[in-house]
Amino acid sequence: MTDAGAGPTAGTQDGPVWRSRRTDRQSTRTVRVRTSAVLIAATALAVLLVPPVVQLDQQAVDLSAKLLPPSWEHPFGTDDVGRDLLLRCVYGLRVSLLVGVAAALTATVIGTAVGACAGALGGWVDRVVMRLVDTFSSVPHLLLGIFIIALFRPGVWPVVISVALTHWLSTARIVRAEVLSLRSRPYIDAAVSGGASRWRVTVRHLLPGVLPHAALAAVLMIPHAMWHESALSFLGLGLPTRTASLGTLVQSARGSLLAGQWWPTLFPGLFIIVPTLAIAGLAGAWRERFNPRRRSELML
């Protein structure tokens, strides 16, 4: 393969060269999918099994052990009031994942409903709804999220609502585009001719066709929603600081980072990045299988 520049004259050598290149790319993808799957499995196990199996109090304060660097006893070190960071990270991941999944599901339900209505009804309903979507999209969604979250007392559900209400827009666009494309198919004509109502056409013929797209959008949104939770909590607007979430952990570690203690920031940071990239990697592979024409970057 050192002779990569071999032109069309090297006909006999082209075959093996091409085949090995393709295998390289495929194996890279396989490695990515497997790594993602293993990381997601590890995350799920940690989140589901650690709290019931390890009967330790994540809130236990031990001021004699505050800000200890990573050691065998505390693999991730301890925070500024002596809580074990590994345990805090696992509990934090639990909350962040819950927020991420709940927000992504809510946003997908809203987006699918709005997109399907706009696409199926068409006409002025479609125009009004899509202009509203454009208007909402023009506001930076972190800003809009902050506005929404300010309306509630701090807690898990306001964060879910804030992230969901700012993230249904892209799903609505995807679903509407797909519904528009399905709507002009002859089998919809056949259903109309068979006496089906608008509702029946939408629910029986259009929605089943867009559900795979909506499901993929939902999975791809989980990492995004987790990042938003972290961002909101980091800004001090999301979850109350006593609730361990990955965002609140990074936020409360800010002070110690300036004092040279790196571990209270690094480990929660890794806990944000690794599972979200794993989910995005697996969803990306799913999208490639589902729509091979559109190989593209991570949609984050």
Partner: protein, 240 residues
């Protein structure tokens, strides 16, 4: 009576595909419409099937002018017309098994309980075996799927049948079977037929009367206005 009166229709108001076409089909009559590909005959069929609102003109169905198309038409009016489309693959929901595909209009109009009997009754003469009825569209051939699509068009016992080149994709024996099934249905119910196609021989044998697209446009558009049609020029003299 199905009466199309100076229908102008298309997908862009500035450039209509169908311009001022008039055509009348008497009750129980079978009318074939011949025309070259892309001339607008399918659009006219869609207008007649209440699936495409024309830009102007009136459609009178059984003595009553049609005021709404698609969902603006009452379900009872839409279901008075059975439609068989050109491409069975595209006109069947890929998620439904053939039995559900055929029964779908019954379910959509709240006659779910008749479904099983009616499907069995229609499937048998069309050669759709119970095994085929359990399959999904991608698991059957075009001919089998088109037979299921015909069963779907007949399931609500329409007074009119509109066939938009239903046999264009099929071999001779399937074509014969489809035409025979349609004719049996018409003989039993006295339904009218509006068949669109470009197969002169088939339509002439099948229909009571065939009209050519160019003759329809000739009667409606002043001679000076008529767009030159190379296919019309090549048509043998005296052909309909």
């Amino acid at each position: 009576m199905l009466e199309l009166r100076s229908i102008t229709a298309g997908y862009d108001r500035r450039a209509p595909v169908v311009r001022g076409i008039s055509l009348t089909i008497e009750p129980g009559e079978a009318v074939g419409l011949l025309g070259p590909s892309g001339c607008g005959k399918s659009t006219l069929a869609r207008v007649a099937a209440l699936l495409h609102r024309p830009d102007s003109g009136t459609l009178v169905l059984d003595g009553e002018p049609v005021r709404g198309w698609r969902h603006h038409a009452p379900p009872a009016r839409r279901t008075a017309i059975g439609v068989v489309f050109q491409q069975p693959r595209l006109s069947s929901d890929p998620r439904l098994r053939l039995a559900d595909l055929i029964a779908e209009p019954l379910r959509a109009t709240g006659r779910r309980e008749e479904a099983a009997d009616r499907v069995a009754e229609l499937a048998e003469p069309l050669g759709l075996t119970p095994d085929l009825l359990r399959r999904r569209p991608h698991e059957v051939s075009d001919g089998q799927l088109q037979r299921a699509c015909l069963a779907r068009a007949l399931v609500l016992r329409p007074r009119w049948l509109i066939c938009d080149e239903p046999t264009a994709m099929l071999d001779a024996s399937t074509t014969a079977a489809l035409v025979e099934a349609i004719e049996d249905y018409r003989a039993a119910t006295g339904a009218g037929l509006f068949a669109v196609g470009h197969d002169r021989t088939l339509l002439r044998r099948w229909c009571d009367r065939t009209v050519h697209w160019d003759d329809l446009t000739a009667s409606s558009v002043p001679p000076g206005d008529r767009p030159g049609s190379p296919l019309a020029a090549r048509r043998p003299a005296g052909a309909p």
